[in-house]
């Protein structure tokens, strides 16, 4: 089976995000006064083949833990969608 994984990696709330702060300010300067607390993260998509959804979930979790996220400062969540092969 082939799955499309959509992975979102975000900074933990305890970690300061100067980039998000700069984006918040820039949006304010453009008149979007209603915006506060922008946090910039990372989004990845990948295709992977696996026996079933549980196996795909295990593999993506391993990938996130080993490489895609730095668990000292980041956390991740992902979704899996089965693709027609």
């Amino acid at each position: 089976m082939t799955f499309l994984a959509r992975i979102q990696i975000t900074l933990k709330p305890s970690v300061l995000d100067p980039q998000g702060g700069a984006v918040t300010k820039a949006l304010g300067a453009l008149g979007f006064d209603e915006v506060s607390d922008v946090r910039v993260g990372r989004y990845l998509e990948m295709r992977l083949s696996a026996q079933d959804e549980a196996a795909a979930e295990r593999r993506v979790t391993q990938m996130c833990d080993a490489l895609l996220a730095n668990l000292i400062i980041e956390r991740y969540e992902f979704s899996l969608a089965e693709e027609a092969s």
């Binding site: 970690v15 300061l16 100067p18 980039q19 490489l67 730095n70 000292i72």
Partner: protein
Amino acid sequence: MRFAVTVFPGSNCDEDAAQAVARVLDAPVDLVWHQTATLDGYDAVIIPGGFSYGDYLRAGAIARFSPVMTAVAAHAAAGKPVLGICNGFQVLTEAGLLPGTLLPNDSLQFRCEFVSARVETTDTVFTCGYTKGQVIRLPIAHGQGAYYADDETLADLRRHDQIVFRYDGENPNGSADHIAGIVNRGRNVLGMMPHPERAVHELLGSSDGAPLFTSLLRSWERRVAHDA
């Protein structure tokens, strides 16, 4: 004493590090390509600055999976000195050889300038040639140098005298507790954001980095004499 300087795609301070070893210590030094799986025969390893793998994903995140990093981990486990400078520091944290990580500078600017750093401990093979509390001038050149660790880890670093350098005066990147460099519990793996290899002669604006290299040599000579 024989030195290895690891070279990743995107390393750019490897020659500077090798030159510092050769000129300050007159010691043999080799540039070692990251695909090399062994560091046998080397007494010290330097992981230089630069942008390994273009800093893709996170600085140091991909370099840590290079074959040479397995050799670096073995070298560190054997108690031999490992020095990570700038990107080398980032690689060492990503590899789990040092605690914490490096975040983008709080100013969001790439900072390239001389800074003052205080030597907080001389109880390492890297800093035994300085005096405790000595303020030295070293250049920095980084966009992602804000040392970060959770409070528990920071307390642990303080308790075990693992904070080796702190910025003196202005903190150029917003690092936790003004940290500029830390050592592991075994005291043989040092990571630091400032560049000692770029400050080994007055012609370079400072020679305050030179004692770091002479400290390594003296420590090694003492160890060899002791083992003999």
